[in-house]
Amino acid sequence: MRTLTFACLTLTALAVTLCGRPARAAGTLTVVAASSLTEGLQDMKPVFEKAHPGVELRLSFASSSQCRMQIEQGAPADVFLSADTENMDPLVKAKLVDKPVIFAHNTLIIIVPKDNPAGIKSPGDLTKPGVKLITCAPKVPIGNYTRQVIDKMDASGEFGPDFKERVLANIVSEEPNVKGIVGKVTLGEADAAFCYVSDVTPPVKARVQTIEIPEKMNAIADYPMAVISATADRELAQAFIEFVLSREGQRILKNRGFIPARPEKPSRTPTMRPKAK
């Protein structure tokens, strides 16, 4: 009987402890971000934590569409960094996030495995029958941008008739996110894929060849970020937003291949002017 009472009391205590507390400990900032921001945010983490002692930055990466779904379902997070505005707008409309701000841009590039089994030398080669092209579903930003680029290439007429149809017919899989795409190309499973310029990190570069997309046909990805309305620490979340937009934050993103939203202003330190004669 005594053991039973003890067991019941322990269980009750445990239940209360687990259910009552919110998921976040004080001094934690949970950031939900698009997969393409993996390296950039990981670089930012030690810098931000050093500037805010006692704060732990928790990073969670998934495709922007999955992030949006998580936030809609009430996942406990403080800031959302998306790879496109299409996944941020529904959250703004539903008042689940505060006003977003664009913090970076990105462009696309074509990657093929290092040994280039399908012999892709230019975007036009993507129409060759049997080429295994992988992308993401249209709701995932990279999937959306890829289809935009394909549309632009088709409209230009430079790559032959029926470019769009033939390329879309070569899609063999829709991976969950852009890192999945890069993974399959580096493994040599896919023959070609569109990914972000920022995804061609040094380890990836060693395993792929890249094919540039003509500037006028490329898509410019706009990356918005916003504080999630249900955040437990609005001040800290705002501090993170400011950090990403700061010189340091923008420099880190530029290092990783992103186009900063706030271009670096030329230094304002006074220069020695020759004395007027």
């Binding site: 039973l4 495709s63 569409s65 999955q66 949006r68 779904m69 529904p90 089994p117 295994k132 992988i134 579903a137 249209p138 709701k139 995932v140 899609i171 063999v172 899989s173 829709e174 991976e175 969950p176 399959k184 493994l187 040599g188 499973e189 896919a190």
Partner: protein
């Protein structure tokens, strides 16, 4: 059992009961009957359903074909390394499906152990429907192998010996004695393997990829539609379909096995 003891046990069992029933209740409560009809016919759901049924059907058929002699061998033969083989048979059951997918990729992928030779013959498996079938066979096969072996082992030896002394050839003994007596277990194993094949997700996603009509089976379609479809209609409809299938599987398997147990009793009498 005393009423108070029963009540106490019931109280302590509530968390476990809640764990197994609440998610199902939640799923069914999200379903709107109106959208159900619309969605079953919609392209994503019907294509996923058809693909799942076809691939799992082929996988189950091949598993039966290759699994029956294998199970028979394990049931009736003793050999060095049998324990190793038995462990290998059990492995895919406990292996995380994603690991299974990675293993298949590194074996049969473009640069895989065998895949590189297949590639020379212009056979590239990833991203094909065949890859879906292979992934399903790998994870679901052991369910049949194990159950079939138990079925074969359960055939009473006296009956088998009697048939041989009466002049039946080994093949006739198999066909007319072993098979009928083991068939309930074989059927139960087949149903479980088929259900596992239908529910296969991780290995399929990693090895075969996800494309509507080619590799996007029901579980993959559910995963895809969770963030693609704001109403989640496809996800809910397919989930309910899968839950229904699983329920039927359990009911049928239990009925078959109970009948088998009954038959065994009468055959011993």
């Amino acid at each position: 059992m005393r009423r108070s003891a029963f009540a106490l046990l019931l109280l302590l069992s509530l968390p476990a009961l809640a764990l197994i029933t609440l998610p199902l209740v939640g799923l069914c409560s999200c379903m709107r009957i109106g959208s159900l009809g619309a969605c079953v016919c919609c392209r994503e759901a019907s294509s996923a359903l058809t693909l799942s049924l076809i691939t799992s059907g082929i996988a189950a058929a091949v598993i039966t074909l290759i699994g029956t002699p294998f199970a028979y061998w394990l049931a009736y033969c003793d050999f060095r390394g049998k324990k190793v083989v038995e462990t290998l048979v059990d492995l895919p059951i406990v292996l995380p499906p994603a690991v299974a997918g990675v293993a298949l990729l590194f074996t049969l992928g473009a640069r895989g152990l065998l895949g590189q030779y297949l590639a020379v013959a212009h056979i590239r498996l990833p991203f094909t429907t065949a890859a879906v079938v292979l992934a399903q066979m790998f994870v679901a096969g052991p369910f049949y192998f194990r159950q079939a072996r138990i079925g074969f082992q359960g055939v009473p030896q006296p009956l088998l010996l009697a048939s041989r002394t009466l002049g039946a050839s080994a093949f006739r003994a198999f066909r007319q004695v072993i098979l009928p007596l083991a068939s309930p277990a074989l059927i139960a194993g087949l149903i479980m393997a088929w259900a596992r094949a239908v529910g296969e997700f991780g290995a399929t996603l990693v090895f075969a990829g996800s494309l509507q009509g080619v590799t996007r089976t029901m579980p993959l379609a559910i995963y895809n539609s969770m963030d693609a479809d704001p109403t989640h209609a496809t996800a809910v409809v397919l989930s309910v379909a899968l839950v229904t299938i699983c329920f039927l599987v359990i009911i049928i398997t239990r009925a078959v096995l109970t009948r088998a147990a009954g038959l065994q009793e009468t055959s011993r009498a």
